[in-house]
Every structure is written in structure tokens, then in C-alpha cells.
Symmetry: C2
Subunit: 218 residues, 2 copies
DNA sequence: ATTAATTTTTAGGTTTGTCTAAAAATTTGA
DNA sequence: TCAAATTTTTAGACAAACCTAAAAATTAAT
């Protein structure tokens, strides 16, 4: 009923709505994230509104309806479960899986999704620390902060990233910063807000503010 | 480069060419198997010929080019590997997997295919006994016969099916006929060519000729 | 060897999702 | 506040993959 393309729009609307703190998503924002032109987005919004998957008032941006949110969450659930599979079972790195999951997230079979979930041990978070919604769409919650907001001497655990680009993830790999590692803040530079941290109580590592802003810790 | 739809055409052309013993596949044959009309098939054949994926002389049917065969075999490889995954890892029955594999066979990632193959232990045959081509397209060979052609008193091993419909597979399940089981032919009815067989040296089972014709044994 | 039946192709359209260019609405800001 | 800048929508087209109806080629039958 919902095409590959429609599913992608719904997923992106969901994510941008989250990012905007719940307020409407604009046509141009969507055009950027769908790699299309605003005119194409307008066409699609008309269609999604027709199908009652989004709330759409011309020129006012969109939000998802219950039904649209349900589909979006199902796509996100599949994306993240497949990412767990790719890393845990097939041995991919966390920087290699996104594009493959972009394809797998559209495979249409409830039984498959639920059996995969069970096979993986009902994981709560994906390899980037993103929460995996359950079959009903409920997200596991976890309060986290940006590393850049943590004060000197505190010790925290790395629980996620806010940027998923291979370049960023590979940079973390090179510095041994992995999900679950412990981080003690040794020093914060007055000048450039860069961090010197102690990883797992053993290794001293330099972290630029740009990186610290995109690391989630708890 | 090759769309979902094109891949399906190539795969079906490959399989029908095999069935025809290597000779050309007709437009109507393809229309049946693609669930479309002959006119649509004609359009697609023109396009596939343009891309040098098939050898096409109007009104004379088609065969695959080297390039077309290569793509077809890659799709078949993925289909059968995913079927192994669904049965061996997720616990699906062999009667439930075909439609899911029809989707998964189009996921485009060589690394994924090769890692999946390794994860599964480089299987040679899928859950229906069909051979899985290797990364270069080479099929493992296995000489087999139809059960219906085996003589009384011989003992053979069940190695495949020539029909994949859920109804047929469920019928086999109900009679405990599974891949790898041993079959001793106790009696063949003169009247209707039906078989009475001994399964795994223990159980006596009745098999109609219609079923025996679609069971492959060795 | 013609004619009849069948198969295949072509012609002309539709739907989905995209595009560019132009028009309309909204927002900014002098 | 009202004109300029920006954003969004509409108009008109296009490619992919399908359709129906009609024409052309092949095959089968007298
Ligand atoms: Mn991802
Ligand atoms: Mn992720
Ligand atoms: Mn199958
Ligand atoms: Mn199979």
C-alpha cells in the first residue's frame, strides 16, 4: 500500500519532526533530506495527505498522523534491527551498514521482523546507540547528554552518536572510542573547548569540540 | 543500473531457459511468469536487448547474454542464500520463505552477500535442495532423479523438490518427508503408479504419483 | 499453398515519481 | 506597512513500467 518512496518520506518526516522538537517540517527541509527538489516534495505531500498519512496545510509544513507515525516507526524499527544484524552477526563495522539498512528497512514481512528481533535477542539499541522501537512503536528511553556539556573530572559512558557519517565513525574507531566505553574528562581547553579524556581508565585521548558535540554519554 | 523489475525478468529468463533445455524463451511464457501481459514483455525485451542483457530477434524468443546470465545468477544466489538464512537462523518453515526471499534477492551489496554466505557456512543447497551458485556463478552439481523413476526395493535419499508451492511443501511436512530423509520403495501400484515407501527405515508412507514426480532423490 | 489461428509487436494511454520554470503565498526588514 | 526576498505550490514534461486494442508476423490446418 505504501511504496518504498512513501516510506522514505514518512521516515524522514518522523526524524525531522523529532529534531524540531515536535513542530512542523518544511518542504525545503524535506527536499534536502530526500535529495529531490521542493516541487517534487510538494507533489508527494499532497499525495501523503490524501492517504491521511500526514497533516498538511499548504505553506504550513507537515506532521505525521497516527497512521503515518506507525509506518515511520515500523521502518525505523526494521532499519535499526538490520543494523544490529549486520554488525553482531555478519561482522560489519558501524561505519559500513547504513546504506545496506536503507534497503533492508523496506522488506515487507511482519513475521520476518519479529523473528529477526528474537534472533538478535530483542536489542534495545542499534550499533550507533539509537533506540529501537518495539513492535507497537514504543521507543526505549535513555536520558543522555552531549559529551561537550559534561564538566571536568566527571566519568561517563559512551552511549551514542548524533552524526552517522562513515568519516565521523571511522574517526572514533581510530581513537578507540566505542559504544559502552568509559570516559573520564581530564581537561577542557579554555581556548577551543576541546577535551582531553581518559578512555576506559587507561588511555588518554584528544577530542575536538566538534567531535564532543556529536558524542552522547550517560 | 539494473532495476528490481529488470532483475526479475533476467532471473525468470534464466530459469525458463534451463527448463527448456537451453532453447529460447517466448514472450508468452514470460508474460505468464511475470504476471504481466505480452505487450509489456515485448517492451521490456526491447529494453533489455538495448542494454545487451539478452539476445533478442523479434518473434524468435530470447536467451541471456553472458552479462545477463551473470546478473541472473547473482539474483538466484542471493535468493537461495537468504532462504537458507530464513530457515536455518530464523526458524521459518520451507513453505514460508519464498515471498520474503523474492524481496531480499534484490538487496544490492556484494559485501553483504559474501558475508551472509560465510555466516551460513557456505551452503551448497537451499532449503528446497536447489543449488546455490558461488560468487562467480558456478552451480554445485548433483545428479538426481525423480522418485517416480526409481524401481521397487531401491533405497534413496530425498534431495529436492521440483515444485515450491506452500501446499505441496506442507503436504510433505505432514507426511514427514524432509530433505535428507532416506526412502526405501516398498511397492509401486500397477494401477495408479502410486508409491508405498519406508521413511528412514521406520515409517511406512503412501505417496501418490503426482507427488513422486515432484520429489528429487539420489 | 492459402487461409485460419496463434503469437508477438506496435500504437496510444495511464500512474508514479521526478524535473524546470513560473506563479502564488509567506516572511523579512527598511 | 509595504516592497523585496524567500519559500512553497502549480503547470507542464519526462522516464519507467504497465495496460488495451489493433496490426503484423509466424505457425498450423485444410
Ligand atoms: Mn542507519
Ligand atoms: Mn543506526
Ligand atoms: Mn524460492
Ligand atoms: Mn528455494
Amino acid at each position: 500500500m505504501t511504496s518504498f518512496t512513501e516510506e522514505n518520506y514518512l521516515k524522514i518526516i518522523y526524524m525531522l519532526t523529532e529534531q524540531n522538537g515536535g513542530s512542523e517540517v518544511s518542504t525545503n527541509e524535506l527536499a534536502e533530506h530526500t535529495q529531490t527538489k521542493a516541487a517534487s516534495v510538494s507533489d508527494m505531500l499532497r499525495k501523503l495527505a490524501e492517504k491521511n498519512l500526514i497533516n498538511y496545510r499548504k505553506y504550513q509544513g507537515v506532521t505525521l498522523t497516527k497512521e503515518g507515525q506507525h509506518i515511520a516507526l515500523s521502518v525505523i524499527r526494521k532499519h535499526r534491527l538490520w543494523e544490529v544484524f549486520l554488525v553482531e552477526k555478519l561482522g560489519f563495522g558501524w561505519d559500513e551498514i547504513h546504506d545496506i539498512a536503507e534497503q533492508l528497512e523496506h522488506i515487507d514481512s511482519k513475521e520476518l521482523t519479529e523473528k529477526l528481533d528474537k534472533f538478535l535477542g530483542n536489542p534495545q539499541f542499534d550499533p550507533h546507540g539509537d533506540p529501537i522501537p518495539d513492535a507497537k512503536g514504543k521507543m526505549p528511553s535513555m536520558s543522555s547528554h552531549k559529551l561537550s556539556e559534561i564538566a571536568v573530572d566527571q566519568t561517563v559512558v559512551m552511549v551514542g552518536v548524533t552524526v552517522h557519517s562513515p568519516a565521523f565513525l571511522q574517526h572514533l574507531d581510530k581513537n578507540n572510542i566505542t559504544l559502552g566505553c568509559s570516559i573520564r574528562i581530564q581537561e577542557v581547553s579554555e581556548f577551543d573547548k576541546s577535551f582531553t579524556i581518559i578512555l576506559n581508565n587507561t588511555q588518554s585521548v584528544f577530542v575536538s569540540n566538534e567531535v564532543a558535540k556529536n558524542l552522547l554519554v550517560k
